[in-house]
C-alpha cells in the first residue's frame, strides 16, 4: 500500500522534473539559434565605442537610431527594397500562372506525349543551376536583357518544382468536382479557373511562399545579371554595401536587418506554408 502511494506521488514529480529539464535544454538551444539575430539588432543600434567594447555590451546605453538614418542615406536601400518586391512579386505571380496551367494539363487532360514530357520535367529538377547558368547568361545577353529585371524574372517562371508540387495536389481533388461542371457545359478553361484553382488554394499558397523565399533571398542571379546600382535587389545591395563599409559593423548589421525583416514578417503570418513548402520539397522522388 505504502509503496503504491509513493509511486503515485513520485511519478508526477519525476514527470515535472523531466519537463523542466527539457524546457531548460530547449531554451538554451533556442538561444544558440537566435543569438546571432539578437547580436545583429544590438550591434545595429550601437555607436563605435560600444560596438568594439570588451566585454561586449548587449543593450547600448545610447540607442543609435541614427545608424539607420545614416545607412539609408549612404545607399539607395528603399530602391533595393522596391526592386526586390517587384522581382519577387512578378516571379511569384508568373510562376503560379505558368505552373498551375501546366499542372492542370498534366493531372486532368489526356494528350499524346503527356507522361513523357512530365518525366522530362521531373528529370531536370536535379540539374544544378550552375550548369545552365553560363548559357542562360549568353541567351540573355543576345536578348539584350543583361542588367534588366527581366533577366531575373522570365527564366524563373518555368519552374519544374512548381508543376510537380501543384500536380501532386490537383491529383487529390475528386473528379466529381469537374464532372458536374462538364455536364453544365463548361469548357476546360472554365473548369481550370472556376473549379480547380479555387479548390487548390493551400497548394498555391505553399508554392507562392516557397518561391517568395527563394527569390527574395536569391543572390547569385542578381550578382551575375545586374550591374547598375539602381536595379540591385536587397541581397546584392547588402553585399555591395559590405564591400564599401568594411568594419562599420553597426551599419552593416542595420543593412542585414533590413534585408531579413520583410521575410520574417511574412513568416509570422504564413508559418505553416513555409513548413509545408519544405516538406513538399522532401517528397520529390
Amino acid at each position: 500500500m505504502d509503496i503504491k502511494q509513493e509511486n503515485r506521488a513520485g511519478k508526477p514529480r519525476r514527470k515535472i522534473l523531466k519537463a523542466v529539464l527539457l524546457h531548460i535544454v530547449m531554451v538554451i538551444l533556442s538561444f544558440l539559434m537566435i543569438t546571432p539575430f539578437l547580436w545583429m539588432v544590438s550591434t545595429s543600434l550601437k555607436n563605435m565605442n560600444e560596438m568594439y567594447a570588451i566585454p561586449p555590451i548587449w543593450i547600448p546605453r545610447e540607442v543609435m537610431w541614427s545608424n539607420y538614418r545614416y545607412m539609408f542615406e549612404s545607399a539607395p536601400w528603399l530602391l533595393y527594397f522596391f526592386n526586390t518586391v517587384k522581382v519577387t512579386g512578378l516571379v511569384v505571380v508568373g510562376q503560379l500562372v505558368v505552373c498551375s496551367m501546366a499542372a492542370f494539363a498534366f493531372s486532368r487532360l489526356r494528350f499524346p506525349g503527356r507522361d513523357a514530357l512530365f518525366f522530362m520535367l521531373l528529370g531536370t529538377m536535379m540539374i544544378p543551376y550552375h550548369v545552365t547558368m553560363i548559357p542562360t547568361f549568353q541567351i540573355l545577353r543576345r536578348l539584350g536583357w543583361l542588367d534588366t529585371h527581366q533577366a531575373l524574372i522570365v527564366p524563373a517562371l518555368s519552374a519544374a518544382f512548381g508543376v510537380f508540387l501543384l500536380r501532386q495536389f490537383f491529383m487529390t481533388l475528386p473528379r466529381e468536382l469537374e464532372q458536374a461542371a462538364m455536364i453544365d457545359g463548361c469548357g476546360y478553361p472554365r473548369i481550370f479557373l472556376n473549379v480547380i484553382l479555387p479548390n487548390a488554394k493551400p497548394a498555391l499558397t505553399t508554392l507562392a511562399i516557397f518561391t517568395f523565399m527563394g527569390t527574395w533571398n536569391d543572390f547569385l542571379g542578381p550578382l551575375i545579371y545586374l550591374n547598375s546600382d539602381h536595379l540591385k535587389t536587397l541581397t546584392l545591395g547588402l553585399a555591395t554595401f559590405q564591400g564599401v563599409y568594411t568594419n562599420q559593423w553597426n551599419y552593416m548589421m542595420a543593412g542585414a536587418l533590413i534585408v531579413s525583416l520583410p521575410i520574417l514578417i511574412v513568416y509570422m503570418f504564413a508559418q505553416r506554408y513555409f513548413v509545408q513548402g519544405i516538406v513538399m520539397s522532401g517528397l520529390k522522388e
Binding site: L22, M26, L29, L32, I34, P36, W39, Y52, I54, P55, P56, M101, A102, A105, F106, L109, R110, F111, R114, L117, L121, T124, I127, P128, H130, V131, T132, M133, I134, P135, F137, I139, R141, L157, S158, A160, Y188, F192, M213, N217, F219, L220, L223, I224, T235, L238, Q242, M252, M253, A256, S260, L264, Y267, Q271, F274, V275, I278, V279, G282, E285
Partner: protein, 289 residues
Amino acid sequence: MVRKETAWGYFFIAPMMIGFAVFMLYPFVYSFYLSLTSSDGIVAPKFIGFDNYAKLLKDTTFLRSLRVTLYFTLVTVPVGAALSLLAAMLLNIKMRFVTWYRTAFFLPVITSMVAIATVWKWLYNTDYGLINSIFAALGLYEPPWLASAKWALPSIMIMSIWKGIGFNMVIFLAGLQGISPSLYESAKIDGAGAFRRFTNITFPLLRHTTVFVVIMSIISSFQVFDQVYVMTQGGPAKSTSVVVYYIYQNAFQFFQQGYASAMAYVLFAIIFIVTLLQTRLAKNKDVDG
C-alpha cells in the same frame, strides 16, 4: 471530343514548355557544347574537343576546389543531419511553447544567406567578435577564424550547419509524425528503454527520410556559394575556394566561359552520380521491406 482535349492540353502546357525549352533544355545541351570550346562569352566559340577537361585535370586550383568542397560536404552533411534529427526528436515531444522552439530553429532557414553571412562575419571577428569575446572570458583559445587559412573553412562549416539544421529538422519531423505512437507504447510495455526504442523503431522507420536528407544535403553542399562570396571570397590563400566559386570566377571574372562550362559539367556528373545512388538506396529499401 478527344482532339479538343489534346489541343487544350498543349495550350495549357505551352508557356511552361516554351520557358523550359529556352531556359533549361537548350542551356543544358548548349553548356556541354560550350565545355568543348574556348568560348570567352563574346567572340564566336572555337571548338577544341576535350581540351578543357584535360586542362582541368592539371589545374591545381580546380583540384583544390574539389577537395575543399568534398571536405566541406564530408563534415557538414553528417553533422548537420545528426543535429537535425536530434532537434526533430526533441521538438516532436509534446510540450508547451513547442511552436516557439521550432520557430527559433527555423529562423536561420528563412533568412537570406547574405544577411546571415554578414552577421557571422562580425561574430567571427578575431579581435572584437562576440565569439572570441566569450572564448576570452572563458579563458579559451581564440581562433583567428576567417582570417586564417586553417580556420576559415571550419568557420564557414559551423555557420552553414547552424543555418541548415532547421530545414532538415522539418523533414525529419514530418517523418517522425508518420510513425504510429502505438509502436512506442507496445515497446514501452515490453520494457524497451529510450535508446532501444530509438535504434529499433525510430531509426529504421526513418531510414527513407534519412537517406533523402543526406542525399539532398550532399547535392546542396556541392553547390555552396553565397556564404563563401560574402565571408571570404575564396580566401585566405584559396582555402575556402569551393567549386561553384571557382566556376563563378572563371565564367564572370576571367570570362573563360568554355572552361567554366567544363567545370560545371564535372559538378553535374558528381551530382548525377549521387542522385543515382539515392534511387539505388531507395530501391534497396523496397526490396528489404
